[in-house]
Structure formats: C-alpha cells, structure tokens
C-alpha cells in the first residue's frame, strides 16, 4: 500500500510487505542521528482525539511526533470535548482535519476510525476503536517479536487473558496472519475470542483454544499476556477462581522455554508478578519503547517527504 497519506484504521489493511516496510523504517529511524530525525515531519502537526482514557498510546504518539520534528495537540478525554455537548464524531473529526495534518482517534465505538477516515480529508490513525482494533499496538507488538526473537515466522505464541474484549488481541491476530506462526489462545471460557470476529483470522491463522496455560506454557516462544478484568465477570467468585490461572510469576517462568519472552500491551494490574520484571524474559517495557519508535516511523511514512 502507498504509505504516504494513508489511513491506519485496521491492521487488516496491511500485508506482510507493508509491515516489513514499517519495521525497516523503524530500524532506520532508531539509528538515525537526532537532528536528521527531527527533519522528517518538521512543520507537520498531529491532532489527537482521545474519547477514552489512554496513557501509553497518547504519550507515545506525542513523543513520537516530537522526535520527528512535528507538533501535536488535541483532546485527551471526552469531557473536555464538545462531544459532551452532543456534537457528532463526524463534526469533531472534520474540525480536526482542518487544524492538523493527521489525527489519532481513540473511541469506544467499533469501526469509529474507519468512519472517521471517511469524513476526514487528512489521514486518520486508529488509536483504539471499541473492542475492535488497535492496529498501531499490533505493529508495535510484531516489531517487538521480530526484535527480541529475531524473527516472527516459526514462533509459537500464546495469547493469554481477556481475549473477548481485548482489542489488542484482534489486531495482533490479524497481524500474525501475515506470518507462519503457531498460536495458542488461553482464556477462561467466558472470555474466549468472539465468534463473530474470527472469520478472517481463521482463514489465515490456525489456533488452539485452551483455558489452561499449563497445557502449552512449555511450548511457547512468546507469552503475550493481557489483563483479565474483574468487571467482565458476572460474579466475583468466578473471577477469583480464574484470576490466578493466568498470572505469570516465578513458578510459571520455570516452566517456560529458556529463551521464551513475556510481552504485555500494558497497563498490567496483577497478571505479571513484579518479580518477573528483572528477568531476561520480561520484554514489556522494551515493547513500550518500540511503541514510540514504530509510531515515529509510521508518522514519518505517512506525513514525511519520503526521505526516510
């Protein structure tokens, strides 16, 4: 796909070649002399429209834009926007497309970014849409796997936790569909991947579903952990029963392959014990770092003059 001026609404729009182009650009931008890097988007602006809370995504976009010489501004919660007065998303997006050269949108509705891209004259980047997608997180996750494992093809990846409502999971699975990987989906039965969202995933990726992490932990190269959220369970007892099954601690690390890594889109609550943080397996903070680099590369590809 032509990256310059492109919308990033779904990872489904990215083929393997597109992803590899972003990864290569990320490698180049990471090694680039800071002064040159700041020329990539000099004079460009990124508007952010965050109608849902965010820490990493918004900050990493701001940091990424600053690192390539651009500026960013916007709204970081619904309450401070005119959406609170009943203004439509369409109108807010149209306004932002007047003020900025590109925008990042986070919204609670599935498909909100695709709709925004339709009404905006400027590129729209999906910063998280409902429980549907979080494509830049998937780009960051795939890049992290490539960096820390040396490759993506051939990996056995376990995605653990809330697979039903976690938007990062769907984007990651669609992204992994471009590679030759083995996937285990580990979750309580009530939080399994949604049946109405797996049609495209099943066509590209074979996966095994399980509710017991112990069944596959010793086969995994990547343990991708997501939060199991208490509010997803109708009763607390059910939550307490399953919560411990999906916690990565020292005992679980012992069952993992020597070179296996633990990833997490963050924020975590208690699904990865702090004792894991200082082990070589812990790669989630490095993953967050790559979030800034991959987003900087993406912004430079979309907004830059092609000199990357």
């Amino acid at each position: 796909m032509e990256m310059r001026g492109a919308d990033v609404t779904s990872i489904r729009d990215f083929g393997r070649g597109d992803l590899e182009e972003i990864f290569a650009a990320t490698d180049r931008i990471t090694d680039m002399e800071p002064g040159r890097r700041r020329q990539l988007c000099a004079g460009k602006s990124l508007g952010y429209l965050f109608f849902e809370p965010s820490t990493r995504t918004r900050l990493s976009f701001e940091a990424a834009m600053a690192s390539v010489g651009g500026t960013s501004f916007g709204i970081s919660d619904k309450e401070s926007s005119s959406a609170q007065k009943g203004e439509s998303l369409a109108d807010v997006v149209r306004m932002m497309s007047i003020y900025s050269d590109a925008m990042v949108l986070r919204h609670s509705l599935d498909g909100s970014s695709r709709f925004a891209a339709q009404v905006s004259d400027k590129p729209v980047i999906n910063g998280g849409s409902g429980t549907e997608e979080h494509p830049t997180q998937a780009i960051q996750d795939l890049y992290t796997m490539r960096k820390v494992c040396g490759k993506i093809d051939g990996l056995t990846i376990g995605i653990v936790g809330d697979l039903k409502y976690g938007r990062t999971v769907y984007s990651l699975l669609h992204g992994l569909g471009n590679y030759d990987v083995n996937v285990y989906l580990v979750s309580p039965e009530s939080l399994r991947i949604r049946a109405d969202s797996v049609y495209d995933i099943k066509k590209k990726t074979e996966y095994v579903e399980s509710d017991n992490l112990n069944e596959c932990i010793d086969a995994l190269d990547v343990v991708y952990v997501t939060r199991v959220q208490r509010e997803r369970f109708p009763d607390v007892e059910e939550y307490l029963k399953v919560r411990g099954s999906y916690v990565i601690g020292a005992d679980m690390l012992k069952k993992m392959k020597e070179k296996a890594v633990v990833m997490h889109p963050l924020p975590r609550v208690d699904e990865i014990a702090p004792e894991v943080d200082s082990t070589p397996a812990a790669r989630y903070f490095e993953q967050a770092r790559y979030g800034m680099d991959t987003r900087a590369a993406l912004l430079a590809l979309i907004l830059g003059d092609g000199d990357l």
Binding site: L109, G111, F115, E133, S197, D200
Partner: protein, 153 residues
C-alpha cells in the same frame, strides 16, 4: 376442478416470489414491508409441496415490483427464491435472486457497539464475503452479521 387444489386468483400486474425457503415466507413479507396496506392483493402460501426442495413458500403480490434493495434482502433471507414479474397477466421476466458483492443501507449491523448503530451520519455497509454460505461482514466493525437476527434500516 379438483377440490383439493388451491386456487389463487391471477394478478394483472405484480410480482410472484417463488421457491422461498420453507418457513421464511413471513420473514420475507416483513423484510419487504408487504402488508397489504396499499389495497393490492397479497397471497402467501406456506409449506407448499415442491418437486425441487420438498416444501417451499410462495408470495404473490399485486401492483408491487421489487426494487434492488428488496431483491438483496430476499437473497439473504431466501437464497433459492425466484422473482417472477407479471404484466398484463403474463410472465415477462423471471430470475433467481443473487447476492451482490456488498449491500448498503438495508441491514443494521448486529453489533450494538458498531459506529453504524450510533446515530452518526453513516449508512451500514455489508460486504458479502461468502455468497454460498451467505456470510455478510460489516465493513466498519468487521463483525460477521448474524443473519438469524436481521434488523432493517
């Protein structure tokens, strides 16, 4: 005339929808908003013996010609249906329904959290990703439509 035969008055102008999948005739009527309020004759026959498919439903409706949207609805609800156009008591056109590559406007996405159900100025758009299996996918949220729970715009 054999008294066991059903007799239905011929129509001068209108449409006969034949070979509707057994049991879906009433759903077709509702989907096409055919309720007889225009005063035209509407005849529906359910569970009619069929040489091809064991049983079928048939709808005969006077003075109404189906629009493209109606045909698309029909193709989703009753994929084996045939549409017969009657003019001056004669059959002038007969065709099987078929699914287009995408269907705009007429079906609401079954995902309540889809942006197309939010009141934003947007029309639904379903991509037909499998014509044989009647698999429709919302172009916005990416979810597969549950065709047993169709709702119309």
């Amino acid at each position: 005339m054999d008294e066991s035969e059903l007799t239905v008055r011929r129509i001068r102008e209108g449409t006969v929808i034949d070979h509707i999948d057994e049991g879906r005739g009433l759903q077709v009527l509702a989907a096409l908003s055919i309720n007889g309020s225009d005063g035209g004759v509407v005849t529906i026959a359910l569970n009619v013996p069929s040489a091809k498919h064991n049983k079928k439903d048939i709808i005969k409706v006077e003075n109404i010609l189906l629009r493209d949207d109606d045909t698309n609805k029909l193709a989703v609800i009753a994929p084996r249906a045939t549409v017969n156009i009657i003019r001056d008591y004669k059959l002038v056109e007969k065709h099987r329904v078929s699914l287009p590559n995408s269907i705009g406007r007429i079906f609401m996405c079954t995902n309540p959290d889809c942006v197309t159900n939010s009141g934003e100025p947007i029309e639904s758009m379903m991509d037909v990703v499998d014509k044989t299996g009647r698999v429709l996918k919302c172009r916005y949220c990416g979810r597969i439509l549950d065709i047993t729970k169709l709702r119309y715009m």
